[in-house]
């Protein structure tokens, strides 16, 4: 839920990094924290266990710049990925403006990715939010590992697309990140399908981290118009 303060001309938006445990959500935030100018970010807060597993959330506020005289501040949150922390994971989603799903590309983690994606849909639905109509991007993380699944397999399992019923947006849209692929397209049966933009990442080295953040932030800002 973005909060617009006309007194101080600030817009505050909430982004949530979601995904399976040990997938790299916290690493994404740590990279952002390490790379942006200290005067444009706040403290990185981590509510973690002694073994550095996220217990409740990580939090990082970042100022992205000024649009139409409004200072845009993004609050970046991660959720705990471990399955049994669902109660706290669900709390973090409350009031979300944009979602980044950080998938773990390793073949062995495919089931965990699918379970987490299903959990995201379920938790959003419980708040009455429709994930398919909210700024939503997917990051395929750990692309450097030898056991990384091919992107097309990840796409087929995690991002097959959803029916797109808004006639204003029913036009073929190429995926700028994957030549020959589409973000919006029409099936031979006539139905329109849309899927989330995706980015490849190696969060530990920072590859793809800012591309992902920029993509989701831009979608959020555009949704305010």
């Amino acid at each position: 839920m973005s909060m617009i303060n006309y007194a101080s001309r600030e817009i505050n938006c909430k982004l949530v990094y979601y995904g399976p445990g040990l997938g790299g959500k916290t690493t994404n935030l740590e990279h952002v924290y390490g790379k942006v100018q200290p005067n444009t970010r706040g403290k990185l807060i981590s509510l973690a266990t002694e073994t550095e597993r996220t217990l409740f959330f990580d939090f990082l506020p970042v100022d992205l710049g000024t649009i139409r005289g409004f200072k845009t501040r993004f609050h970046l949150y991660t959720v705990p990925g471990q399955v049994y922390y669902n109660a706290s994971r669900k709390l973090i989603l409350k009031g979300v403006d944009g979602i980044v799903f950080v998938a773990d590309s390793q073949v062995e983690r495919m089931e965990a990715n699918i379970e987490s994606m299903q959990n995201l849909y379920d938790n959003m639905a419980e708040y009455g939010y429709d994930l398919t109509r909210l700024p939503f991007v997917i990051q395929y993380n750990k692309r450097d590992l030898p056991n990384a699944s091919p992107v097309k397999d990840l796409q087929a399992s995690l991002n097959p697309g959803w029916p797109m019923t808004n006639p204003d947006r029913q036009k073929v849209t190429a995926d700028p990140n994957w030549s020959g692929e589409y973000l919006v397209w029409q099936l031979s049966t006539g139905e329109w399908v849309e899927r989330a933009p995706t980015y490849e990442g190696v969060a530990i080295t920072g590859d793809g981290v800012f591309e992902t953040l920029k993509a989701v932030s831009k979608l959020v800002l555009k949704s305010l118009g």
């Binding site: 909060m3 000024t66 139409r68 409004f70 609050h75 009031g95 979300v96 429709d130 109509r133 831009k218």
Partner: protein, 163 residues
């Protein structure tokens, strides 16, 4: 509803809110008062400037309240409308306002919990009315920002992201 709704407040809302908060500050002698929305964003702050990161404080306050809400439900309560955290020197008292924001007092031995709790009650009632009027007036569904959605705004957004 596709997603979470936005909410906005204007200069005059902000003025009214801070006036009530300043009144409470004087009556209770607390060090500072902060108003935080349920999503962890700072709405207003009066009294001594905080010696900590207010945004981090706000996000933790919202999480604290949300976690306690769930605990309340587990024991069969609808909510915990207020919370108290006692420290050796510094303490905090937090109260729900209109189910959307949280009023937080930071105080030390210059005042007492009893006085804070007593005086909070009236201000929370007033602020609840202020916020309810505000939400009823502006609506909270899909708030659009003035100037956004125009070609100029789109260009500025593209420029900001280097496209």
């Amino acid at each position: 509803m596709p997603g979470a709704s936005s909410w906005s407040f204007r200069e005059e809302d902000y003025k009214a809110i801070t006036e009530h908060m300043n009144g409470l500050l004087r009556e209770t002698n607390v060090k500072s008062l902060m108003l935080v929305d349920r999503n962890g964003q700072v709405v207003a702050n009066v009294g001594e400037p905080p010696q900590f990161d207010p945004q981090a404080f706000a996000s933790l306050t919202a999480a604290d309240f949300s976690a306690n809400d769930q605990l309340a439900k587990m024991i069969g309560e609808h909510e915990f409308a207020s919370l108290f955290h006692q420290g050796e020197k510094e303490s905090m008292y937090l109260a729900d306002v209109a189910r959307r924001v949280i009023l937080v007092a930071l105080f030390d031995s210059r005042t007492t919990l009893g006085l804070v709790r007593l005086k909070f009650k009236g201000t929370v009632e007033i602020l609840t009315r202020v916020f309810e009027d505000m939400f009823n007036r502006s609506g909270t569904q899909n708030t659009k920002v003035e100037g956004f959605g125009t070609k100029e705004a789109e260009d500025e957004i593209d420029k900001l992201f280097g496209d």
